[in-house]
Structures are given as structure tokens and as C-alpha cells.
């Protein structure tokens, strides 16, 4: 309410980083992994927490320089919970994932999550963004301390803009497994914790820092 209290809060935006390890599990073995995660993570007595999100990836390019500078574009990801329609939408900005040297155990990328009203897709389009692709993810999430584990399936939309189950086509025969922590930069201890946690899931899942530059 106080003007003085408002102003500084706007300036102190601590840059957040996402520490990330990725792997996958074949659909047939997913339940084994879920049970193991349930045992390893917090709230073991609770049932699996499921999520179901629609994500649309928007790109903003400089229209006049579209030809020569493909790299000069910004990507925003808009997420919307399909199972909690009253939850706010999210804009997520992810930076380039850095591999780092051997001493670093995880990928690190800039990460910014902003909750917003549900007209965000219209708004981004108005701002000049263009939808690049969209998909639905369904799966489960776990947390242990500040580590978050998600096990989810990616679905392609057969017809655009329809997220009902008949319109979803699963991608591949595996679930993607991600172990991540969002924290301010420079907390290398997190990487150590995450590596230890990943060790416990072997040989079921190999969680690694996957070089995103290899993707064609």
C-alpha cells in the first residue's frame, strides 16, 4: 500500500537460474520410477501429484531483420493448467542452457516465471509475438527440499487449439524426466545435491546434463 514499499520491490529482482538434469523413462517402466520417486521424495505418504499443462511457445522476431538474424529472437513459453482452469497462466522465459565445464554437474539457464492473466496469449500476439509451436504435457511431479522432479509425457495436438484427449498424440514411447532447482546464481552446492539424487535413480533413469546445442 505504501508507495515507499512498492518502489524498491520492483528494483530488487534477483536473477534466478534453473539448474537442470534431464533423462527419460520408457512408458512401460514409468510406474517403477514413480514408486521409487515417491519413496525418495518428500510427502511419501501422499498420493502422486499429477499435472496436466498446455504450453504454447511464442517467438518475437525483428520483422525487418528477419532474414539475416535468425538468432535475434525472443521466446516466451505460456503455460496453462488444464486440470486447474482457475489457476493463472504463466509466462516462462528460459535462457540458453549452459553446459559449463566438468566440475559443474548440471545445466544452468536463466529462468523467469511470471504469473499473468489468462488473456496472455492474445496479448503476446498483439505485442508481435507469433506462436511457434504448442503441446500438452501430462505427468507427475515430486519435490525433495527445493529439488523438483517431473515425469511427464509430451503430446502433440493433432488439430490445432484442441486439448481434449482425442486430439492428443503422444510423442515417442517415453516420459521425459527432469530434475531441476530454481535458485539465484552461484549456488554450486545445488549441483552436488542434484547429482547425488540422480545417482539414486540409476540404472532406471540416467539423468544427465544434455547438451542442447546437439539438437538439430
Amino acid at each position: 500500500m505504501e508507495a515507499a514499499a512498492l518502489a524498491p520491490s520492483l528494483k530488487n529482482i534477483a536473477p534466478q537460474q534453473e539448474y537442470l538434469l534431464q533423462g527419460s523413462i520408457l512408458d512401460t517402466h514409468r510406474d517403477v520410477l514413480l514408486h521409487r520417486l515417491r519413496g525418495l521424495c518428500d510427502n511419501a505418504e501422499r498420493n502422486f501429484e499429477a499435472f496436466s499443462d498446455y504450453e504454447a511457445v511464442y517467438v518475437l522476431r525483428n520483422s525487418s531483420t528477419a532474414q539475416q538474424s535468425q538468432n535475434q529472437h525472443v521466446t516466451f513459453r505460456v503455460r496453462h493448467a488444464l486440470d486447474h482452469s482457475d489457476a493463472p497462466d504463466h509466462i516462462r522465459y528460459l535462457g540458453q542452457a549452459e553446459l559449463g565445464d566438468r566440475s559443474r554437474h548440471t545445466l544452468v539457464r536463466a529462468c523467469l516465471d511470471v504469473a499473468c492473466s489468462s488473456n496472455v496469449r492474445d496479448f503476446l500476439t498483439e505485442m508481435g509475438f507469433r506462436i511457434d509451436h504448442d503441446y500438452v504435457v501430462k505427468g507427475h511431479f515430486f519435490h525433495k527440499g527445493r529439488m523438483k522432479v517431473t515425469v511427464y509425457k509430451i503430446f502433440r495436438l493433432i488439430q490445432p487449439n484442441k486439448t481434449d484427449p482425442h486430439n492428443l498424440e503422444p510423442l515417442g514411447q517415453s516420459h521425459l524426466v527432469e530434475l531441476s532447482v530454481v535458485a539465484p546464481l552461484g549456488q554450486e552446492q545445488i549441483g552436488e545435491d542434484m547429482k547425488n539424487f540422480a545417482e539414486q535413480l540409476k540404472p532406471l533413469v540416467l539423468l544427465e546434463k544434455f547438451d542442447h546445442r546437439k539438437i538439430q
Binding site: 508481435g128 503441446y135 546437439k214 539438437i215
Partner: protein
Amino acid sequence: MQPPQTNEEKQLDLALDDLIQRVRELKQGVSSFIYKLENDYQNISWPNMMEHFGVLSSGLSSIKRLLKTEKMPLLRNYVLFPILLSPDRDPHLEKLTEGRVSAFNHEVVPDYLRTKPEPEVEEKVQMLSSKAASITPEVAQKQLTMLNKITSNILDIINASSDDWDKDSASLRNALPPTTSQQETAMLIAAVTKGVRLRRQDSQGQMSPAPQMGSMPTQQHQQQPLPQKPQMPGSGIGRVPSAVKTNIKAAVTSHPYQRP
């Protein structure tokens, strides 16, 4: 008047003081633990309990170590013998023992100053050793080989089954179908990070930003007083072939996130 202490006596005094100190600490530890068990048992957790045991056992072993050190004189070379037994209460003794022994009398002295096992125990030991002695060397040898044989047999069985078990689990691991596939991982990560295999190839998909424009008219209506910009589907992209517009309109109705 005390006789002048020899070096040996001084050392004994020091060692005894040290020992008494340690025993007292241990005793305090035990009594506080007992107190906790009796009065505060509902708050005691298993790790907590183990911690207490750990402290006590380390106290015991440090006393043991102390007895074995070079500096400690050989206590067994010292003899303690009671000079005077009295049936009367001895307040000094009572204080020293914290009320456990009130008099240095004939009843308690045999128990406290005992250096040999109790007679019954001694009798039992005697019996067993005489039984052992009665066996002839040949019989003993025979029994020994028998025992060795049995032991080695059991060892063999255990080794064999542990080998089997190892092999089983190893082969099980090999036989188990892989639970994860590098290719799948790469494909899924490519999809979530770069949209590989998720991007639409057909032209209709390319235009998918346009359906969001469908809800714009309502918005314009609400915000009339603001300066208006011409609203064109795909404005800002500027490469929209007009022929596709009909398709866009059709998609509007099915758009799940349309504003009410």
C-alpha cells in the same frame, strides 16, 4: 602424619583420581539417561536413544583404554583388605556411596570385595573342565575334524548360493529390458526445448497465431476511447495470405482458451 609419598604412590593417586573422575562422568551419563527414560520417554526418539547409547559406550571404552595405558600402574598388584568390619551405620561411607552402602558390615563386604566368581559358578566351571578333561585326545580330535567338516560344508553352501545370487542378479540386470533410451531422451528434449516434431508443417498450423485474434473484437469494443490501430490478423507478422482467413475463423469456435 602421612609418610612422604614415593613417586609410585603419587602416580597411583593421580591415576585413581582420573579413574574416579571418569567413572563419575559415566555414572552421571547413565543416571541422566535413566531419568530421561523414566520421565521423558514420550519425547525420546530412536536416533536420540542411539546417541545416548553411543555416548555411554564411548565412555566405557575410554575407561578401558585408560586402564591399559602405560601410565596406569598395574592395579591388580594392589591388595585391598578390610581391617575393621562394623555393624554400625557409617555416615561417612553412606555419603561416599550416595546412600547405597550404609554400613561396612559382614553382609556387604563379601559382595563388594569379591575377587573370585561365586561358589556356584566356580562349581559349574569346575564340572565343565573336568568333563573336558575326561575326553581322550582321539575322541577330541575326531570331534574337531567333524566340526571342521561341517563348518566348511556350510561355508561351501553359502559361497555357492551367494555366487548364484550374484550371477542371478547380474543376469537379471542384463536380461531386464532397458528402462531408458538415449534416443528417446534426445528426441523428447529436442521437442520441449526447440519444438522439434511439434511444429506444424502445414500452412494452417503456420497461421495458428491468428485464432487468438478472433477474440479481439470484444476487446476493442470495451476499450473504445483508446486510440485505435487497424486490427489485422497477423499484424506484426505481415506475411498472412488472405486465403487462409476462412480457416482461421473456423478454428475460433474450437479454441479452448477463448475469453468468455
